[in-house]
């Protein structure tokens, strides 16, 4: 599903955020990417979502060589990827419902379908009763869950999460992680970037360890 092959991301100023990384994430897999801040976790996710481009090596997502994709094709590819951001990136002048509905509006769903799917997604993250509220009235954990609902509402085959538990207390963090595991159980390929090592260990899933842009570990849970 996601193949990095000697992929490097070098910025114009010469800084290399990702250095010759190779790994393969299979369809339906759940993978954590971990490492200290600045190790390149976020950049890795951004490469998959085409926010950044690899400067050398190959990156293949869903059978597509991202290095050769033209600007015009990017919207199509992004519709197959759900992304949740560390800083949520909700639109604060819109209701929770409208925030979650955005990917469906973009993809051109019918109004009835939008209502049904948004309700289902909000129900899944436990915020159905907040659909008419504005994001500012929600706590950080709730905003993160709205971001997750938005990322999964159009049922993308790939879900990327950047530090989803960043500022949350352990119990809330556990809940959020549980949500990702549930999405993975219905067949979604999930990649979560997180520096919460202790939490990741309890999850018992594959973990890729980054350090200064290099892949230094690829661990599978022992049974």
């Amino acid at each position: 599903m996601i193949i990095f092959n000697n992929a490097t991301k070098r910025y114009p100023n010469g800084y290399e955020a990702i250095k010759q990384i190779s790994f393969h994430i299979k369809k339906g897999e759940m993978v954590f990417i971990t490492g200290h801040s600045g190790a390149g976790k976020t950049t890795l996710l951004r490469l998959i979502d085409l926010i950044e481009r690899v400067t050398s090596g190959q990156l293949i997502v869903n059978g597509q060589h991202l290095g050769r994709i033209s600007e015009k094709r990017i919207p199509d590819l992004r519709r197959n990827i759900g992304f949740t951001f560390q800083e949520h990136r909700l639109l604060y002048d819109r209701t929770i419902f409208d925030n979650v509905a955005l990917p469906l509006m973009i993809a051109g769903y019918r109004h009835q379908d939008i209502r049904r799917r948004v309700r289902a997604a909000l129900d899944k993250v436990g915020l159905l009763n907040k659909e008419k509220n504005y994001p500012i009235t929600l706590s950080g954990g709730q905003q993160q869950r709205v971001g997750i609902a938005r990322a999964v509402v159009n049922k993308p085959p790939i879900l990327l999460a950047d530090e989803p538990t960043g500022n949350l207390d352990p119990a809330l963090a556990q809940e959020i992680m549980q949500l990702f595991i549930e999405f993975n159980q219905v067949g979604v390929t999930v990649v979560v970037a997180s520096h919460a090592l202790a939490l990741i260990k309890t999850m018992r899933h594959r973990a890729l360890v980054l350090q200064e842009g290099r892949l230094i570990g690829d661990t599978y849970p022992r049974n």
């Binding site: 926010i51 600007e71 509006m105 973009i106 769903y109």
Partner: protein, 324 residues
């Protein structure tokens, strides 16, 4: 903007998900309807600021529109005067009446001459006798001192000095006299003013483009986060462009309607003094106001300028905004 260099190797055929294609035009249309109302709501969410932008467009449209209308009215008045203007050709006194008639027929066939009337020396003398009050004195004259005269009514479009000069050069003509030279000057001035209004309209159109473009540019940067997030979830440029184009549309529409109103109010205010003027000149004169067709042209021009301004701004700034 980043662009990948075109690859020399052909990209493998890839399965594309095409939800839009199968769902068809209905969805596309319903999004347009949605954005239509959404942008209308946005327009009225900050009514004062948006009405001010529209008012700029309105004034920029109303100025050339109003001037043009004034000019139309002026042309209508001068037309009635022009119809009563003519060139008098005093023919050589030696010329026989038959020759004068032939010349009159020849001139009458010219395109730049509407009609020709011959006043023979005898008719002229009779008229003079009747109206001058010198009847008895004229009887004392030997023979008729008056020449034959051709009264020429030029076609309106050819009320030019060149026609007069041309006629003056004819061998048979003693003197050619244009008795309403001032009118011809007025018509020339109107032509100059007409050109001036065209230039003014062009400059104001550019102003509208700049004002709308700048307003939309600010709107784009105010909604930068929304644009970035939309791009992150696969929004195409067309999708993102749409609401901004509709805002331009609303600016233009409202601006055009206000312009229509402004012109009508102005002419309503001018109506009384203009009618007074026309009675002074003893001319039957119906003031020309904006009819439905001209009003619609005003509104459509406003919409076109609003859309064009929005298009310019969006095209320039949307590409710069890439998600970070």
């Amino acid at each position: 903007m980043k662009r990948t260099a075109p690859s020399s190797r052909p990209t493998p055929p890839t399965p594309r998900s095409k939800p839009q294609v199968t769902r068809g035009r209905n969805i596309w249309l319903s999004h347009h309807v949605y954005v239509f109302f959404l942008s209308l709501g946005q327009f009225f969410s900050t009514p004062l600021a948006n009405f001010m932008t529209s008012a700029v467009i309105a004034i920029a449209l109303a100025l050339p529109g109003g001037f043009y209308l004034l000019l139309e009215n002026a042309q209508q008045i001068t037309q009635t005067w022009a119809e009563s203007s003519h060139i008098s050709l005093f023919l050589n006194p030696q010329m026989a009446i038959q020759q004068a008639e032939i010349l009159g027929q020849q001139l009458g066939q010219r395109q730049d001459i509407q009609s020709v009337r011959l006043v023979t020396s005898a008719e002229a003398l009779e008229e003079y006798r009747k109206y001058s009050g010198f009847g008895e004195a004229l009887n004392a004259l030997e023979g008729n001192p008056l020449p034959n005269v051709l009264i020429i009514q030029p076609a309106l479009a050819h009320l030019t000095p060149s026609l007069l000069q041309e006629l003056d050069k004819l061998e048979e003509v003693d003197v050619a006299q244009f008795d309403m030279r001032w009118l011809q000057r007025l018509l020339t001035i109107i032509a100059v003013v007409q050109r001036g209004i065209l230039i003014l309209a062009g400059l104001l159109a550019i102003t509208v483009l700049l004002v709308v473009g700048n307003t939309i540019r600010l709107a784009i940067f105010n909604r930068r986060e929304e644009i970035e997030v939309t791009k992150l979830f696969g929004g195409t440029n067309a999708f993102i462009r749409r609401p901004f184009l509709y805002i331009g549309f609303w600016y233009g529409l409202v601006g055009g309607l206000i312009a229509w109103l402004l012109v009508n109010i102005s002419f309503w205010l001018l109506r009384v003094p203009i009618q007074k003027l026309s009675t002074l000149y003893a001319t039957e004169f119906e003031i020309i106001t904006l009819d439905i067709q001209a009003g619609l042209i005003l509104v459509v021009t406003g919409i076109a300028l609003g859309l064009a301004g929005a298009w310019l701004a969006v095209g320039k700034h949307l590409r710069v905004i890439q998600p970070h």
